[in-house]
Structure formats: C-alpha cells, structure tokens
C-alpha cells in the first residue's frame, strides 16, 4: 500500500510540474536520437545546449557533420542512457524505435518527432519544427531564407534539355517518386527514369529494364571500396559495363542525400555541375 501511495504522490508532483512549467521554456539540455535531427540540431542550436547526438552523427557514410559532432556525447537511443542525461527536450525521427519513444513520453519527457521527408517543402517544415522546439524560431526563419536564396540561385541556370538520370545502387536498387532523392533530381533539372517507370519509394530495377530504357546519367550511389561484394556484383556485369561506357556515370556523397537539411543544396549543386558536363559532351558530339 505504501508503495502505491508513493507512486500516486510522485505522479501528482510530476503532473503539477508539467502544468506549472511555462509552455515554451527554452530547453537547455537537448538530446537527439536520430541522425537527421542530430544535424538540424547542430545547425540551429548553440553547442553548449546539445547534450548528446546519435552515434550515427560521426559515421562517415551517413553524416554530413562529422567534424561538428566529434566531442559531443553519443547515444544509442536506449531509454535508460537518455534518462541519465536528464534532457529537457528529446528530438527523434518518426521511425525511431517506437517502444523507446513511447516509454520516454510516458515518463514525462518532452519529445519532438520529426517526420521523414519526401520533398523540399518538408525540409522547410522540419527546420521550422526543430527551430521552434529548441526555442530558436528566428534562426529557423533565417535558415529557411538562406535555403530559399541558394535554391533559387541554383535553379536560375537555364533549363534547356533535361537529361534522364537513373539511380542504380547495390543490389540493383533504385529510387523512384515521392522521395528526397527524386526531389533533388527534379530541382537540379533532371528526369528520373525510375519515376517514369512508375516506381514509388525504393524499388528494384532489373538490369534488363535499365538496358532497354533510354537514360543519360547513371547515379551509382556512394563511392565504394575496391573490395567487391555480392551486392555490388551487378556493377561488374559485362552488359552493365558496356552501358556505363556510353553513359555519364557518377557517384554521389551519400550523407547529403539522406536527411532533410540544407546539405541537400550541396547535392543539388553537384547535380547541376554534372548536368553542365553532360550538356557539353552532348554539344561536342
């Protein structure tokens, strides 16, 4: 009985604390448990307010902000380790481990979940969400304004003929409509073959389909190590090698393509340069 009384009192105190707190107190101990919120947080908040970011923030293949993230405590998204950091705000992605997010919510922590993005407008929305959550709405507005300025500068280049690009990654994976990658292609003035073939989200592109449909630029995913893998076997296929010879094949810097951050503009900039190269080879032929 004593135990349940203590429980009740504890609950009452917890509830009253939530009520008494001003609604938009500026959080001072912010923890992020998702790669994408890690980067938005580091871009928007002062370093001393960031208590921890996810362990992915310093991984070369995924994070665009390794330098900024070194020195910040890393977490692995486990409820217990996060509680010990005593955060007053937790940033999570909408597909971060659900049991953990629910448990932390139940324990009274303030959690802001940031959805997966599918287009450039979602980036503006996510910047706004995070900026407001951490109590820096002005920085968010400024970042969105900078984003839009740079974006319109990139789009200013005249669109003559749009090249058809196609993603062809390990295991013949491709990326179709309703994805960030598609939005990047579209903004850079390229067409997406996978989208034309009716693929939405990630999908499988058989080598035969790739060979029989017109394409100008092959996007081969990230730079790979020399060591081969079964997943990359399709790249060694003679038919593919022949195709790659007659097309412009490029590799991309993966971290720019994963999260809805202003780094997406670097991906677009890269593609705009690629497009110019392609137009030159086209006119020289």
């Amino acid at each position: 009985m004593a135990f349940s009384w203590r429980c009740l009192i504890f609950l009452l105190i917890a509830v009253s604390e939530i009520w008494l707190e001003p609604v938009l107190a500026k959080p001072e101990r912010i923890v992020s448990i998702n790669l994408c919120t890690d980067q938005l947080l580091m871009l928007l908040a002062d370093r001393d307010r960031i208590i921890s970011v996810s362990y992915l923030a310093t991984k070369k293949d995924t994070s665009a902000m390794i330098r900024e993230a070194t020195g910040i405590t890393k977490n692995h998204g486990r409820a217990e380790e996060i509680m010990l950091m005593k955060p007053d705000l937790i940033l999570a992605g909408s597909f971060t481990s659900h049991p953990t997010v629910f448990l932390l919510k139940k324990l009274g922590y303030r959690i802001v979940e940031v959805p997966v993005i599918r287009n450039l407008d979602d980036i503006r929305q996510n910047i706004k969400t995070v900026a407001e959550a951490i109590g820096e709405p002005q920085r968010g507005i400024k970042m969105i304004a900078n984003f839009d300025d740079r974006l319109s500068a990139l789009q200013a280049s005249p669109t003559t003929k749009k090249p058809i690009a196609v993603f062809y990654r390990e295991n013949s994976y491709t990326t179709g409509g309703h994805t960030l990658a598609n939005a990047i292609l579209d903004t850079a003035g390229m067409l997406n073959l996978a989208k034309q073939l009716g693929i939405s989200g990630s999908g499988h592109l058989p080598l035969e389909t790739l060979l029989t449909h017109p394409s100008d630029i092959l996007i081969l995913g990230r730079k790979r190590s020399q060591k081969g893998s079964v997943a990359a076997a399709a790249f060694d296929h003679p038919a593919f090698k022949k195709l790659a010879e007659s097309r412009l094949a490029i590799t991309i810097h993966n971290p720019y393509w994963i999260c809805g951050t202003p780094f997406v503009l670097d991906a677009i900039e890269h593609l705009v340069t690629v497009k110019k190269t392609w137009q030159k080879t086209l006119s020289s032929r």
């Binding site: 135990f3 504890f10 692995h76 217990e80 380790e81 597909f95 481990s97 659900h98 049991p99 448990l103």
Partner: protein
C-alpha cells in the same frame, strides 16, 4: 495409470526448488543490469523507500516491466514447447508450429508498415494479437473438426508460410528504407524499453493461456500411450486439441506481440529438463515454463552486458546459442541410444 496429476510431485521437489531459485536470481539480475550504473544497491534502497527519483524511474519503469516480460515470455515459450512436444509426441515441436508466432509477427509488421504503430504505444501488440487469433481460427478451420495431429501440423505450416510471405511482401513494398529497417529490427525480437502498458496488455491473455495449457497435464500423460489408448481411457481427443490450440494461441500470440519472434527457447528447454522429471509430460509443464523463463531472462541480461552501444537483439542471441546447443543435444542423444 494415475489419473491425478499435480503440477509437480514430491519426487521432483529438489528440481523445482532449484528452478525457482534460479528464476528469482535471474529476475533480480535482470533488474540490476542496464545501460546506466543503477545496480543492486539502488535496488535494495527501493525496498526501504530511500531511492533517488532517477533510480526509482529506471528500476520500476524501465527494468521492472522488462524483467516481468522476460519472465512471462520465457515461461510461455517453455510451457508452449513442452505442451506441443507432449501433444504431438514429437521432440521437434515448438510453440510456433501451429502458426501463431508467424501470424503475430505479420500483424506487428503491418502496424509498422501502415504507420499505425506510431499512433499509440499498444497499437503494435494489439494488431499482433488480433492477427494471431485470426490465424488460429484459420488453423482450426484448415485442420478440420476431426483431423489428426498431422493435419494440424500441416495447417500450421501453411499459415506460417503464408504469414512469412506476407511479411516479406510488406518489407518489399516498404515506402522508405526507414520503415524496412524498423521492421527488420522488430523481427529480430527484443524486450528493450517495453513499459508496464505492455505487461498489462499481455498478462490476461497469457494467464488464460497458461491455465488452459496446465489443464492438459493429465491428458498429455495419457497420450504417451498413444491416441487410441488415451481415448479408451476416456480422454476426449477433440477437446484436448481445442484446449491446446487456444491455450498456445493466447499465450504465445501475446508473447510474440511484445517481444517479436524469439527462437529456440521453446524447443530446447523441454529437452533439457525432460529427463529430470522422469519423462513425464505433466511434470514437465511447470518445469519447462520456469526453465524457459530462466533461459530468456539470462539471455536478456547477456544482450545488455555483451553490448555497450546498440543492443544485440534478444532473438538473435537465443538462436545463436540455441542452434549449436540443439545440435549438441542431438549428437548426445544419438550416442546414448547407440551405446
């Protein structure tokens, strides 16, 4: 044929004492192991009511539900394995055989796929249990009213294969890589960061399931003489099968819905304990349940101790240890029968 069949008999008293002690030990162990340094001293201070607020939260809201679920899921798998092996008189039977685990997994995957799992904490286990119950209805239908145990196994395999095909389909059609990742991780089985809501949700299903399964003890003893002999002794085979299917469906379905699929516990534990209870199916039930709880709690402690960063998944560990151990058991039994 003694018709009275208690859960455990005096002759195996020492075995049950050891099992009970180990269960308590592993349960306590599960409470004092975690990512933070909160340990046994804090646990003791909870009993006197002098713990810090943080220790209180970590022990009672994070580790206690996890330990309770480890106990309940382990018990269910051990008990389910013992019942199925007894009923089918086949040492290779395991709780997932009648299709419940596969269906429950598929139900969970669908909630992740559609995004329903993100709406409220119990969406995933609820979806999972509902699918499991539907699958059992289907298995009953496929197995027929008077069908034998072979037909039941085939129906179970059919439902499992279909559910796993649908699970792969969901993975295949996942709208973005983050969804596929979450599904993959869920399928590996884990008890990390479960809360009391999960415990309260699955507890009624499990308790009813356990009660039904324990009622089978006597029938399982009779079935060791063969189905015909059991029938002449006055046991209603149809009734036994109904009890068994519904009991396994409720308990194992609920277990899978909170933990994901966890392999080998239900298969290995009855084997381990069978000879200690004199090969008597009714005595094996409680022993195997406790054994399952001990094994799962130990494995769940191990995943927290072995990996400091991202946790190793519980289902992966049980299969990693379970598979070689099972091989060892097979080799050993073969030697024993040959010599």
């Amino acid at each position: 044929m003694p018709l009275k069949s208690p859960l455990f008999s005096i002759e195996h008293c020492s075995l049950f004492l050891v099992l009970l002690l180990l269960t308590i030990l592993t349960f306590a162990g599960s409470l004092i192991v975690g990512a933070s340094s909160v340990g046994w001293k804090d646990l003791l201070s909870v009993f006197v009511g002098q713990e810090s607020e943080m220790a209180h939260l970590i022990l009672l809201e994070i580790r206690l539900p996890r330990a309770l679920l480890g106990l309940m899921v382990g018990f269910t798998l051990g008990l389910g394995g013992a019942v199925l092996q007894g009923y089918l008189r086949n040492p290779l039977a395991e709780p997932g055989l009648i299709g419940v685990s596969g269906a429950a997994s598929f139900g969970a995957v669908i909630t992740i796929y559609t995004g329903a799992a993100g709406l409220f904490a119990l969406a995933l286990p609820l979806g999972s249990i509902l699918t499991a119950l539907f699958a059992v209805f289907l298995v009953q239908l496929l197995a027929g009213k008077n069908g034998g145990s072979l037909r039941l196994i085939l129906a179970g395999i059919a439902v499992t294969s279909f559910a796993s095909a649908l699970t792969s389909l969901a993975l295949n059609m996942a709208p973005n890589p983050f969804v596929s990742l979450e599904i993959m991780f869920w399928l590996m089985g884990s008890l990390a960061d479960r809360s009391f809501e999960h415990v309260w949700l699955v507890m009624p299903f499990m308790i009813i399931g356990w009660a039904l399964l324990f009622k089978l003890g006597r029938s399982l003893d009779a079935l060791t003489l063969g189905e015909d002999a059991a029938q002449t002794l006055g046991f209603n085979l149809k009734h036994i099968r109904h009890l068994m299917i519904i009991g396994v469906a409720l308990s194992v379905g609920a277990a899978t819905s909170v933990s994901g699929s966890i392999g080998f516990v239900g298969l290995v534990v009855p084997h381990l304990l069978r000879r200690w209870v004199g090969h008597k199916p009714s005595a094996l039930l409680l022993a195997s349940g406790l054994g399952g709880a001990i094994l799962l709690l130990t494995a769940d402690i191990a995943v927290r101790l072995l990996t400091t960063g991202t946790e190793l998944k519980l289902g992966v560990l049980t299969s990693l240890i379970g598979a070689p151990f099972f091989l060892f058991l097979i080799v050993k039994t073969k030697r024993n029968t040959m010599s």
